[in-house]
Symmetry: C2
Subunit: 726 residues, 2 copies
């Protein structure tokens, strides 16, 4: 078991081993700035691991391909006690902990020098949820058995680098990229302002800071950094403190230097505690609607709060031109790109509990619709084709041919999320202003992407890759065809609704899109005549046209714990085994259970679940959800625990070097609320049923439906109670 301790509002770790895992787990963010949870005075193996990110701040590393930029570091410090660097001192009684109620990260430990001098240290840090530009650190130092000198260096360090990570999971990263030009540094009273620009696009960031302590610090600079150097004398048994306040702004905000300076000016005389209090209030407002209260198991309660906490802090609330990367702001994995993970895995929590954030995330897709139209053109297709991996533009960031070219369901996934958002929020204006246009343009892509066979009067979807990425490029993939049909249906319904309810807006839109009413008939045709394979005898929906030609594999024999099988079996071989990396038919059934009889879902479960390797972290939560709905509660609990504790207990052995798996968090939430918590809706009415496992004695969660807030309370053995809140 990993050393993480979980209580209802706190995550903590009582050992300073497993550094990279702690750095991931204790990542903190406010949807704008994010930093990994590295101990400030541990200056790290290399500058690419000491990561600080800004949402949506990408830069090109080669033509067309961006990386999420590793920002200048404002957290690091060098600390010398009686002349000895703390980084090399013996550490004991170490605790790193996170208070999820307010996002406060804390390191508390004792140091012992070579000469036996012992010192109690506390370091605290938060990134303000009240003001996205602000972060603060506090250091407390108390000599236990000595008096003598303290030397502290801290400032802003732009000598960080990027380590762009190939989307080919078998490639090693070998190349560091220097993204920052030599910054401009200006001293200010008590601190400094550093403004740096990236190469090649001159994208600018400014970080301004003050170091507040009783003593004055001297300022030193070198090419890439500015540092406040403070020296003082410590008295045995007396606690010394300093506070560092930081303001961050970037080109995405406007004049970054002006903004960072003003934001710092506003708070420079405030205390760490006062600022934290304001951030805590902002967190409180988020928790008010997003918290899920569980009775029964404190570890579950803390784990559930952790997934909500991580999702909330990853979501850009201020900026409809950014989304949530596959690892949020916790790691540069996948070059920080946005996948279907956002719309299909993470979005439901936001749609149900923070609809304004959900809307923002969807607007990112709407705002990149012009790029998706251009992307379609690049693929010689009509309409809009969303990219498998996107960054600050909508253009394809995936460099692996089979996924980038063939895993096209993402376009339908986005339309689906738009549909779910409108259906549950009742935000019709959104449909009118954004949704319809997106549905029409994406529907046009599907028209182009299906091949009509005149001989059969059927539409085939050739050469696609479904969500089970272990299957080769195949045809008529169940998930993709089904989701494309949903996309087409949404388009048909939206056009009809526009015509009735917003005739003027429809006039504008249809003329702008050169819409032709004949298009609707083609959409309906594809819905009716596209090909899914159903085995009547077994009552089984087949994943695609090739699945049953493949060789069976004894998973138990081949799979070694939780290690992905692709590390042991080459892809060309793996794609021809009857195994799944993650759910495909069951994935669609998880999203649209209403399309199937319980028997169909059960048959699919019995067929696919034993063949699924769960080599993607996107797998567990979805299986938990489906199992819960099927009444397979023990399986649901088993899968839920895998999903819930995936990062906290490092179940895939990659949380440290890959960051927090955002989609898995979202899937855990769906399993909890849509599965155990039994929430569902058909776009008109919602419903709550109780499917609590024995681990949960009672559960309380809030959600919005059609703009109204509700609270569901479910107790073992009782009927759910729903309250409309006012």
């Amino acid at each position: 078991m990993k050393p993480t301790r979980i209580t209802s509002w706190h995550i903590s770790c009582g050992s300073d081993t497993e550094r990279s895992l702690r750095e991931s787990i204790f990542s903190i963010a406010n949807g704008y700035i994010g930093t990994r949870g590295f101990r400030p005075d541990e200056r790290g193996k290399h500058a690419a691991w000491r990561s600080t990110f800004i949402s949506g701040f990408y830069e090109y590393i080669r033509p067309g391909i961006t990386d999420l930029v590793n920002q200048p570091d404002f957290s690091a410090m060098a600390l010398r006690l009686n002349g000895e660097d703390t980084e090399s001192m013996h550490v004991f009684d170490f605790t790193q902990s996170l208070d999820m109620s307010c996002g406060l990260l804390e390191w508390s430990f004792f140091l012992e020098s070579r000469d036996g001098l012992r010192t109690k240290i506390k370091m605290e840090k938060f990134i303000s949820m009240a003001n996205r530009h602000i972060a603060a650190l506090r250091i407390s130092v108390m000599p236990v058995n000595w008096s003598g000198s303290l030397y502290l260096e801290t400032g802003i360090d732009a000598s960080v680098q990027n380590l762009p990570i190939s989307d080919n999971q078998l490639h090693n990263n070998i190349e560091f990229v220097q993204m920052w030009n030599i910054p401009e540094i200006k001293p200010i009273d008590g601190g400094a302002v550093l403004t740096a620009k990236t190469f090649p696009s001159h994208r600018q960031v400014t970080m301004a800071y003050v170091l507040n302590a009783d003593e004055n610090a001297a300022l030193t600079t070198d090419d890439y950094s500015v540092t406040s150097v403070l020296e003082t004398t410590l008295k045995c048994g007396t606690c010394w403190q300093a506070e560092k306040l930081v303001a961050v702004a970037c080109f995405r905000d406007g004049d970054s230097e002006n903004i960072a300076r003003s934001e710092l000016e506003l708070i420079r005389h405030e205390s760490f505690d006062a600022l934290l209090d304001r951030s805590k209030k902002a967190w409180g407002r988020l928790w008010e609607t997003s918290d899920v209260v569980l009775e029964g198991d404190e570890t579950w309660q803390g784990g559930v709060r952790y997934i909500i906490f991580q999702l909330l802090q990853a979501a850009p609330r201020h900026d409809p031109h950014a989304s949530i990367g596959a690892r949020g702001l916790t790691h540069g994995r996948y070059k920080g790109c946005y996948f279907w993970d956002t719309e299909i895995y993470m979005l439901p929590m936001f749609t149900m509990t923070q609809p304004e954030i959900a809307k923002n995330l969807l607007l990112y897709r709407y705002n990149t619709l012009p790029d998706a139209v251009k992307s379609a053109k690049n693929f010689s297709a009509k309409g809009a084709r969303y990219s498998w991996m996107a960054s600050d533009t909508g253009f394809e960031q995936c460099e692996t041919w089979d996924t980038g070219c063939c895993e096209i369901h993402v376009t339908a996934d986005i339309a689906f999320a738009f549909g779910k958002y409108t259906a549950s929020t009742g935000d019709d204006q959104f449909l009118c202003c954004y949704g319809t246009e997106l549905y029409i343009q994406t529907a046009r892509y599907w028209v182009d992407r299906f091949n009509y066979s005149a001989k059969e009067d059927r539409y085939h979807l050739l050469f696609v890759k479904g969500p089970d990425e272990y299957c080769g490029v195949t045809s008529n993939d169940f998930y993709t065809v089904s989701m494309a049909r949903q996309n087409l249906r949404l388009a048909i319904d939206a056009v009809s609704e526009m015509k009735q309810r917003w005739p003027e807006e429809w006039q504008d839109l249809s003329s702008r899109l050169s819409f032709n009413d004949n298009e609707i008939a083609v959409w309906q045709n594809i819905i009716d005549k596209s090909v899914l394979t159903f085995d009547e005898k077994r009552g089984l929906w087949l994943q695609d046209v090739t699945f049953e030609y493949m060789e069976p594999l004894d998973i138990k024999k081949e799979k070694d714990g939780d290690k992905p099988l692709y590390l042991r079996i080459g892809y060309d071989r793996l794609q021809r085994y009857q195994v799944l990396k993650q759910p495909a038919v069951l994935m669609y059934m998880a999203l649209c259970p209403e399309d199937f009889s319980k028997d169909e879902i059960e048959t699919a479960w019995n067929y696919y679940e034993p063949k699924t390797l769960h080599d993607s972290t996107l797998s567990f939560g979805i299986h938990a959800l489906v199992a819960s709905r099927l009444g397979k509660t023990p399986e649901a609990v088993r899968y839920f625990e895998k999903s819930l504790f995936l990062d906290l207990f490092d179940l895939m052995n990659n949380t440290g070097h890959e960051g927090i798996h955002m989609a898995s968090l979202g899937a855990s939430w769906q399993a909890l609320i849509f599965g155990f918590g039994g929430l569902s809706h058909d776009g008109e009415y919602f419903k709550v049923v109780s499917r609590l496992p024995e681990q949960i004695h009672a559960m309380r969660y809030r959600f919005f439906f059609k703009g109204h807030p509700y609270e569901a309370e479910i107790k073992q053995g009782d009927d759910p109670i729903i309250r409309e809140l006012t």
Copy 2:
């Protein structure tokens, strides 16, 4: 029409425009050294275009991926007449010509200076076919209307770079790579020796030269080059000459410095003419068996000699660890890699007319069999899997997923070429020592690569890409399945023959390969139960399982001249049109016409030929061959001319910037000899029939069969005459 003039033994060009095209067409080589045909005193836009290659000399440009190294340049010179650089002078009466009987390349032209001083220049160069280490240049300068100074600089220049070319045809090359470390330079009497090593593997080349002239030259060096500087006074109307003799050796030969020095020492006092004479004799021996004499059309005659000339000079005759790249030694395109092009397109000419060279080329594949076994392991497959692109090792150099991972027919292609070689040469020792092992190991790969469907008792080949690269990744591709069956048959036959004829060797081999007699039954099973799709009603062999689901395309409307359609239509769209890039079913029918009735071939022709875009240079010659056999002589002639003059007339507009298309040369030869010249054999007897088009009044060619030399003479209207030569 391009400016190339073709006579029976000469290729010439009367204009100094189209520089890069001329550089490709006039590439000369001896199977070891190759240089592009750049005019020595034109120093080029950049050092990556001034290309000199050594067969098999690759270096890593990133982990696992090599580039054919651009060698130090021994050809370049700077020439100043009366103080003015010739590079900037006005050129007139320019002719660049190639004598194919001896490989002599010549530039002859007049220069006019700014002041009206006119000078006649001749530059000559050859790379010796008599001694692979030797090349020679001669420069002749005659002032027409002036007397005055001449200044000549020439030496060895290692300041060249590589420009590695992505195998993704849509990527631009953007990155120059410096491969050479600072060389070691040693002066010798009349010249110098330059030894350079590549980064990172320290692969060494040595070039030693002397500049022979009446005057003494001074030697100057800088970091990367050594230069002889010669100054003299020219007299109006008198021709001045200098000769430069060069010896080249590299790490593949052993101690390169010692070898280059010794080889130069042996010839340093010889004249250009004497060395050329020796090379011409060596060329004469090659022409003796490889020449094809045509009566009727001198352009065809010269064109045919050109394809033979280019194939002969590209083939490494000295080294069973190298093969012929897709562009020979004429360009770094495809990083100089070896493809199926060698075995399927080029090899027949060698097998029939230079069996020793053919054997050498096949030995390259045998020698990389251990790499193919490791590659199979990397793909979690058994046996041996040859790479789509190979260089000095057999490891995959292709970085494009769909071809590198899925275009697996190359393994069967290599086995097929082994079979053809043994069948026509009767070289049974080759079967015993090399062939059987390769057949068994490759057969084992196929066993692993086919998927057995117990339900149907059939073997499916899933997720492959056939030779028609415009089709997506599909299943049961006709060409690949058919060639795999051939591979398996070769293995079955070889095992049976080994058991009968070489029981001892078989004992050794079968124990070394842990061969089990049960394997044979599986091979036979796959031959019998693998899936090809035949439409009984139409009598049509279908390309794969998806072809008929695709959308038809009006090629005439879409295709713009000879420009490949992938430049206009994105791949994802293109792969779903019913069009072919190059032959697939017809390709197999071209290789194994005996497997089909004439009706089947004709039906396939009528179906596929109109759908074929010929966007690969591998297409024309094969269509010419099939058309000729079908008696469609006008079509055959049309395709043959496209193939024959593809490079000389730059029909694809890419010969200049991509080099000579070696596979197309080989296909032209097959169309000529197997098509018009009517040669075929069944492994026991050969047969010659006449299918001469009207353009050929008579034709004479030689070939070997079962070790005996024959000459075929075919005249319009007469029966072919076959002579066994002694």
